[in-house]
């Protein structure tokens, strides 16, 4: 039978590990700085969605259909498409919950997104708030969304 001291150490180790995993799960930003071209082109219309929010297959489809981008023409020159596409592919989400491309390649239709924003968590009227308006507007509540950080501590609901 192991001594209580070892048991405690193992428990602590396990706790630390799960805390680290949790921290990673809420930090979906790229490893390293955001590609300036991505910021310049994509973040003109919306926050620079962290590449880890979608799997590579979704990013690839989005970058291949910018002329019809969720109801708007977001087309770019070929060199920019290539540069941004490559960077997204490199930093795309790979772990379990971001593995499957969501319907229409919408982050907001991912199973994990819907689960995290169920009506008991986010009241329906909050989506219609003038400061929110769209589920695409992550930064309305997630204050560090532009940096890819979605920690619960950083949530501020608009009044």
């Amino acid at each position: 039978m192991p001594s209580p001291r070892y048991v405690m150490q193992a428990v602590r180790g396990g706790l630390l590990l799960s805390l680290l995993t949790l921290a990673r799960a809420d930090d979906l930003g790229p490893r390293g700085p955001i590609l300036p071209k991505y910021e310049q082109e994509c973040a003109a219309c919306h926050i620079p969605y962290a590449p880890g929010l979608l799997p590579a297959a979704s990013w690839q489809r989005l970058m291949g259909s910018l002329e019809h981008h969720f109801g708007t023409d977001a087309s770019l020159d070929a060199a920019s498409v290539q540069e941004i596409g490559q960077w997204l592919n490199q930093h795309a989400g790979t772990y379990k919950r971001v593995h499957e491309p969501p319907p229409e390649n919408r982050i907001t239709r991912s199973a994990w997104f819907l689960r995290k924003h169920r009506a008991d968590e986010v009241p329906p009227e909050l989506w219609r708030h003038p400061a929110v308006r769209s589920a695409a507007n992550c930064a309305a509540c997630h204050t560090h969304a532009a940096q890819g950080r979605f920690n619960e501590r950083d949530i501020r609901l608009p009044r």
Binding site: H46, F70, T72, D73, L76, S134, A140
Partner: protein, 131 residues
């Protein structure tokens, strides 16, 4: 000999590093007007900007009807900086950027690319706002 080669190389690097399309809004208005072959009309520009053209959005859906005010993207909700150069001196200082946004946004709003004359009209209207 080396210096002789390096000087032109340095000059070329300087030229390449400088923003290629740096212009002013007034210069771009002149370019569009020249391409249109007719004078620009700010009133026509305002109408084009504020009216819908058989599609879901007008320019003002995002930019509001007051181009000196801050706008908001109609679908994502993101804040959009004012469009009139008087309120935002960074607007219309890069011809390629101007062309990119006219191309995409006219397709969204008008359903096709805008003509040089239409771009001149809109720019002429945006330039009527004073500092």
């Amino acid at each position: 000999m080396k210096a002789l080669i390096l000087v032109p190389a340095g000059l070329a690097a300087l030229l390449l590093a400088a923003p290629v399309h740096a212009v002013t809004a007034t210069e771009q208005l002149a370019d569009y007007t020249r391409a249109a072959g007719a004078p620009a009309d700010p009133t026509r520009g305002q109408q084009l900007f504020t009216r819908r053209h058989g599609h879901e959005w007008s320019c003002s859906s995002c930019h509001t009807t007051n181009p000196t005010a801050q706008g908001q993207h109609a679908s994502t909700g993101k804040q959009i900086a004012p469009l009139a150069p008087a309120a935002n001196p960074r607007r219309f200082t890069d011809a390629a950027k101007t062309e990119k946004w006219f191309r995409r946004n006219c397709k969204d709003v008008v359903g096709r690319e805008c003509t040089a004359g239409e771009k001149a009209d809109v720019l002429a209207w945006l330039l009527t706002f004073a500092h």
